[in-house]
């Protein structure tokens, strides 16, 4: 009931209204934490790869603006994810100190924050850069916040396999921002992140099985068991190795990238095989840690080669597609 109606009726004291308007204890850092800055930095890095690899020249200011929009869009998706998953976060040790379960930010505040960020990032990317990039960004936010967070995560152990597409889109958005289209290299970058996501997240889930079980999240180790998860990690790592080398095999990346992709892929498979043969939290943590290094190094080499003009030492197979 509104203040005017209550006081007019003369039934309720002022204090009853004030009690609902509890002052916020959120600091600026809590809002930053809602945006998942570490995920944002990876998104920016992979989107930058799309921008750098795209043909033609993009003005640095426009490229920077595109990256800011993509980063804010990724942050919006993270905020909406934390808003919806606050119940899960509250029962898991890794996430219980996040701003919403800790009580520093109210769910409604987070929802409004996430929607505003999503709206601004998509609208301004569309207004200032191009509509394809804006459409892809909007779809990515929708895919992560609705398809993955609200549907897949609580429904199927394949959640992170399908949901991994959301994390794979940023290089494609970067490419679309630079060119207004989608090219073969953008699709290759999408595929690398898509096939990298399952072994990365399943390695993490292996040392949080009990927490996921308590939170009733049907992660693969909870539903199919730890042994099956280790097998799937190995299978996806074996698949990832040749996919990681595809940019070199198709002539869009150089020899240094090819050697890095093959060596990195071999190490991923070796770590996955060790995890498969001798399970343990330590092996899972090493697998998780190395998967981050693998993706970072691959994308860094890809960009460095392009900037330094070394990509011409790639295999010529892919040039038949050019």
């Amino acid at each position: 009931m509104s203040l005017a109606r209550e006081t007019a009726a003369g039934t309720a004291p002022l204090r009853s209204e004030i009690a609902y308007a509890e002052p916020s204890m959120a600091g600026a850092s809590d809002y930053l934490a809602l945006m998942k800055p570490r995920v944002m930095s990876l998104v920016v890095f992979t989107a930058l790869a799309g921008l750098v690899l795209a043909p033609g020249h993009m003005h640095p200011v426009l490229a920077f603006f595109s990256l800011v929009c993509i980063a804010v869009g990724a942050g919006a998706a993270g905020v909406l994810n934390m808003w919806y998953d606050a119940d899960i976060d509250a029962v898991m040790a890794r996430t219980m100190d996040r701003p919403i379960p800790a009580g520093r930010v109210k769910p409604g505040e987070a929802l409004a924050f996430g929607m505003v960020l999503a709206g601004f990032s998509v609208v301004f990317l569309g207004l200032m850069i191009n509509l394809l990039a804006a459409g892809l960004l909007a779809f990515t936010i929708f895919f992560y916040a609705v398809v993955y967070t609200m549907l897949l995560k609580r429904w199927t152990p394949q959640n992170i396999v399908i949901g991994g597409a959301a994390g794979a889109f940023p290089p494609m958005i970067g490419w679309a921002a630079a060119t207004g289209g989608i090219g073969l290299e953008a699709i290759l970058l999408f595929l690398i992140i898509f096939f990298w996501t399952p072994p990365h997240f399943w390695a993490l889930s292996l040392y949080s099985v009990e927490e996921y079980r308590r939170a009733r999240v049907p992660m693969l180790p909870v539903v199919s068991g730890v042994e099956e998860t280790r097998r799937q990690i190995l299978l996806y790592s074996v698949l990832l190795t040749p996919i990681g080398a595809l940019p070199w095999a198709l002539g869009t990346a150089g020899l240094i990238y090819g050697a890095t992709a093959i060596a990195g892929g071999a190490l991923m498979v070796a770590l996955a095989f060790r995890l498969y043969r001798s399970p343990g939290k330590r092996a899972a943590k090493q697998m998780f840690g190395f998967s981050i290094v693998y993706l970072f190094v691959l994308f860094a080499v890809l960009q460095a080669e392009r900037v330094l003009g070394l990509q011409q030492f790639g295999l010529p197979f892919g040039r038949v597609f050019a």
Binding site: T7, L14, S24, A28, L62, M128
Partner: protein, 58 residues
């Protein structure tokens, strides 16, 4: 003017503790900086794109 606006509050209302004031100040500064960055970015993009600032290919 409505009846509610005519009434004088008899209680002090919400009184923020020092920590709440500090955090509110932090949020205000963050909003100000974000707005400033937003304005500068839009201005820079407008300069780069020139008269065709709203021209956007698909």
């Amino acid at each position: 003017m409505s009846l509610a606006m005519d009434l004088q509050p008899t209680e002090p209302g919400i009184v923020l503790i020092a920590e709440q004031k500090r955090r509110r100040r932090g949020r205000s500064i963050a909003i100000a900086l974000a707005l400033l960055a937003f304005v500068v970015l839009i201005f820079a993009v407008s300069l780069v794109k020139g008269p065709g600032v709203m021209v956007r290919p698909l």
